[in-house]
Symmetry: C2
Subunit: 236 residues, 2 copies
């Protein structure tokens, strides 16, 4: 673990144990540099990491504040780490129903900026949380950007493979949510009844060079659908 | 309109008309300064505004890229402007069912960091989109931070009053989403059937000094629940 990650962890623990309470203003940079005996750039990196994790909130010209902790039992809805970041708290597993290379239809090509005839990995999975069905997922990965996938990779975290195995950096995502009623097919996968409520999420994930690499359609089991959405300071 | 806002608008129009396409890298700062004949700080402000609006995407050390446009017909789910920013596209109105000062219960006080006996404005509204029920909302506003509300204000945009009338700056928010089935009472407000799907959103909004000022519980009509959620570069 790098120094700045250790400092971020130390500060996070102080927040978890409420030595630092929600709404409290953190000491100024100079005081933090002195306390941790590190350079300004190390402290800045630690604070940037904490802000990305939603643990603190930086206000330009005003200071750095402690944010509240998310409630237990809620999954982060927009996480570019897939559900991987929730694995400490939840036991998430995947059952792969299909993995094949396809020439996707127009709407998928549009989402992924692919020319006609381009290839993509198609992945269909059921995901389980603590042994219950969480969602059924249909995803398309651009083969140009993600040349190789196999069953082992898609049984685990595909995003983990992309960032750690391929060393690609994930950038931003656009998600479209809709609430509706389960079709009979979806209900079958989720072990629910046709007509039960559902949350559908359609997401386009981009690498940090702006290229879309994953188009995914997920239907969630409403009984397990407890999500946390954090708006950041970028909305200020 | 300030110079940087005008530049932001000019760039946004170039994106809308696809003179600048999704995924394209913007010219470097120096070139933009030259093109618009302004200082570096003006260009930087314009780009920051565009990033906040989700129109561009800045990658440190790599460049600035054009993001795609959100699809029409979707409301932004996490907007610290309430629905106000959607008003160009949608016709959103409110029917105020209740507006009164209360001493809120424990769970509301916890969310708003209020001591026992503290007062809050309680607002119950039905919101309509293009003439159809969009949601039923129960909100509590800390009276300490928002001393005054009246029916005229809550019939319009409360957030607009807070930012323009009180000149307060809205900071971050924490939202908890759940999908479930409508109760009979909720169904009545939304003109739906008991047992129909619903999306419930519980949100704590904070000012940019870290203080929570609004705790709101919203139940959405699933037929109108089409939401857009944009993850920003802060998740990188």
């Amino acid at each position: 673990m790098l120094k700045y990650q250790q400092i971020a962890l130390d500060i996070e623990r102080m927040i978890e144990t409420e030595q630092l309470k929600r709404g409290v203003k953190l000491p100024v940079l100079e005081a933090l540099m002195k306390e941790f005996e590190v350079s300004k750039s190390t402290i800045t990196k630690a604070l940037d990491l904490l802000e990305k994790k939603g643990v603190i909130y930086q206000v330009r010209g005003s200071g750095i504040f402690v944010r509240g902790h998310k409630r237990k039992g809620f999954l982060s809805l927009i996480s570019n780490q897939g559900f991987k970041d929730s694995l400490e708290e939840f036991d998430i597993t995947s059952e792969v129903l299909e993995l094949k290379i396809v020439q996707p239809e127009r709407y998928v090509r549009d989402a992924l900026d692919l020319p006609e005839g381009a290839e993509a990995h198609y992945v269909k999975r059921i995901r389980y949380i603590n042994g219950k069905t969480l969602c059924v997922e249909n995803s398309y990965y651009s083969k140009e950007l993600i040349p190789y996938l196999n069953k082992e990779i898609v049984t685990g975290s595909i995003f983990h493979y992309i960032t750690e195995g391929l060393k690609l950096q994930i950038g931003f995502s656009d998600m479209y949510l809709q609430v509706g009623k389960l079709t009979e097919e979806e209900a079958g996968y989720l072990q629910l009844k046709s007509g039960d409520p559902k949350l559908s999420a359609e997401t386009i994930f981009h690498l940090n060079n702006g290229k879309p690499f994953d188009y995914s359609m997920i239907t969630y089991n409403y009984e397990q659908s407890q999500f946390y959405v954090q708006s950041g300071s970028y909305l200020r």
